[in-house]
């Protein structure tokens, strides 16, 4: 995602670097290139204008750090500003009320129904008891589509067949959910145009009826200039609480993310990264900004990496990855420095190009898990650490006992380890520069 835009910006930034000092005139040229790149990335014309102006102000102003090169100064300004436009910190779902109601709204075909199932699966995984409510009586087979998805993920679903309008479905479903003690209602609505007064009134009516704590605007990440109009249209009519951007697994540059955030001021909460029900990820503004620049979180990563990883160790690991002798012991050593650096996932996401590889959610490791993983590795014998392929069921059971974890966790970790090795193989194929990039996080 965002590849082409970042390619452009990298070129621009190189050009500045070639000139030694950051003067008014080379900022001017760089800004022109940034403007062009943003427009090609589908960021709305007016949003681009505003963005360029604030970058200009900040680049020529006193925000510039003396310790950086002129090129890095410019990168930092653009990066910081992008992060700001995309929104401060990642926002989760606000689930208030009993049951809490989440409504999904948006244009036709944006991904509402699929995303409803994805959210339900996510909430279920967090120990909640979601209830799916198909309230699209318009699209052919829309109710059946969602019923099937609900069955697939094992989440209960209201039977909307036989109903004549969405309001009746919603009030009956809400009543029933209250009775049965479901804690979250996920309401899928029909796709509609923001200029369709009648259908927008239907949404207003549903909102009154359900008093939702979240109204999520589901939008296609390939959307062009019109993103500002549609997001604003829905926001003005019913007051959206957040945005979910779908179909991020393609090569759309996703400028709509900037546009919608800027026009509505509402946070982008999740991104859809595939057709399958588990392809939903939390949106991280800073990561996204880093990715837009295709430099990863370049500045923070340089700082963090230099502080935490000693160069000799890096060299050794690099050699091991190259020779494919990176074992669980090495992995454990790495965990120590990773702990200093931050979460595994955030480290990896700072590595440009990693996201494209991160097809499987299994690659993500969160901070708490690092402790558990360390415990797991500690409970392994030397032989097991060197050759994890010998880990049969009884060995796994023993390790689980020894480390105070569950066998499932061990299985999950071994999957992650496999994924990581696969990734390393890819990096190896990318050559020494790729490996360096991963370990030093410099991004080429």
């Amino acid at each position: 995602m965002f590849e082409s835009l970042t390619d452009k910006l990298r070129k621009v930034i190189k050009d500045i670097r070639g000139q030694g000092r950051l003067s008014e005139s080379n900022v001017q040229d760089a800004l022109k290139e940034v403007r062009l790149a943003l427009l090609e990335a589908d960021v709305n014309f007016k949003v681009v204008k505003g963005f360029i102006e604030s970058v200009r102000e900040k680049a020529v102003g006193r925000d510039v750090l003396e310790s950086l090169t002129p090129g890095d100064q410019f990168i930092k300004v653009v990066h910081d500003e992008l992060t700001a436009v995309l929104g401060g910190a990642g926002a989760g779902l606000e689930l208030k009320g009993k049951p809490a109601v989440v409504m999904l709204v948006g244009l036709q075909g944006s991904g509402k129904t699929t995303t409803t199932a994805k959210l339900a699966l996510k909430l279920k995984g967090q120990g909640r008891t979601p209830y799916i409510v198909p309230a699209d009586l318009f699209r052919l087979a829309a109710v059946l589509q969602l019923k099937r998805l609900a069955a697939e993920i094992g989440v209960d679903c209201f039977d909307s067949d036989g109903y004549k309008n969405a309001a009746d479905i919603c009030s009956e479903a809400a009543r029933y959910a209250g009775l049965k003690g479901y804690d979250t209602l996920l309401v899928d609505t029909a796709g509609r145009l923001h200029i369709d007064g009648e259908l927008m009134n239907e949404l207003k009516n549903l909102k009154r009826l359900l008093d939702p704590s979240e109204i999520l605007f589901v939008a296609d990440s390939m959307t062009g200039q019109d993103a500002v109009n549609t997001a604003k249209g829905f926001d003005d009519a019913i007051g959206i609480t957040g945005v979910i951007l779908t179909k991020f697994d393609g090569d759309a540059r996703g400028g709509a993310a900037l546009s919608m955030r800027q026009t509505t001021g509402k946070p982008i909460k999740f991104i859809g990264t595939g057709e399958k029900v588990d392809c939903l990820e939390v949106f991280h503004p800073s990561r996204m900004a880093g990715r837009i620049l295709d430099m990863g979180d370049v500045l923070t990563l340089i700082e963090k990496a230099q502080a935490a990883v000693d160069v000799k160790q890096t060299k050794e690991i690099e050699k091991k990855i190259r020779k494919d002798t990176f074992t669980l012991d090495d992995f454990k050593d790495q965990l120590k420095s990773i702990k200093k650096l931050g979460t595994m996932d955030s480290i990896l996401s700072m590595v440009p190009g990693f996201d494209a590889m991160k097809k499987s959610k299994d690659v993500q490791i969160d901070e708490k898990e690092i402790d558990r993983i360390e415990a797991i590795i500690n409970s392994m014998t030397k032989k097991e650490r060197q050759d994890p392929s010998c880990l049969n069921a009884s060995r796994r059971q023993r390790i689980a006992k020894g480390s105070g974890t569950k066998v499932q966790e061990i299985n999950k970790f071994m999957n992650q380890y496999d994924q990581m090795r696969k990734m390393m193989k890819k990096l190896r194929q990318a050559g020494p520069r790729g490996i360096k990039a991963m370990l030093q996080g410099m991004g080429r």
Binding site: Q108, G109, S110, A141, L146, H194, M222, Q225
Partner: protein
Amino acid sequence: MLSRIKSGITGLKAKLTRTHNAIMGSVEAALTGSSREEILGALEEALITSDVGVKTASEIVDGLRAVMAGRDEEKLKGCLKSAIYNILKQVERPLEIGVNQKPFVLMALGVNGVGKTTTIGKLAARYSSSGKSVMLAAGDTFRSAAIEQLELWGGRVGCPVIKQAHGGDPGAVVFDAIRAARARGTDVLILDTAGRLHTKSNLMAELKKIKRVIDREMPGAPHENLLVLDASTGQNALNQARMFNEAIGVTGIALTKLDGTAKGGIIIAIANELKIPIRFIGVGETADDLKDFNAGEFVDALI
């Protein structure tokens, strides 16, 4: 026939008035402005905000700059109109159903959610009502209830739908469909396919395989590979067109959802860069919301 076209024009015009107003708002604002460069700048902005793309927009405006001396409003408008018309006229080629191809096989393709299945429903209605026998094939065996969605369209239009189980091989479905269409002497066979992002090589390979199956069963088919594009899509539609074209050859484009506020300017960019014929536009969700693409109508409604 003529009256149908006429009513088509009126309907389309009504639906595109918003587009028109939005663009003309900017154009007229531009025309009341002062300097020549201001006018040209506003025009370029209007084009860019219509998703024409920076490259195409500046090409058009540079062309205007060369042709137009001074800042005559009417002349400017005329120039912009004919510049866009000239690009679009090249790709205005309505789909003709050949009588020698029986069945005439049309395959709909495109990324997820653009309107393939709906466009198929509309096409089935169109050809049925013009007296042709139509058959549909449920080649999307992946998306939940995609088969049932197509079946409901078939029921609405009154044409048979060939299908297999969810999760089955789409190649097998189209194989069956071609045999069935031949056996029944069907005029038009329309194949639905699952939405797929053009960047997914496994899914693009599957599409190639489907095409091979069809070609083996009926050499020369499909007679139309119709790429469905969503008018609200930005510059990515160009990539979509390029990559579907590279993979199996796109012979026509349908541009859907022009009833929204998205300007559909991407049509101009695609026409300018790829020269793929644009067959249809979608202007709503019901069976008769499909029109032949017409460059003159489009430009008239636009400017």
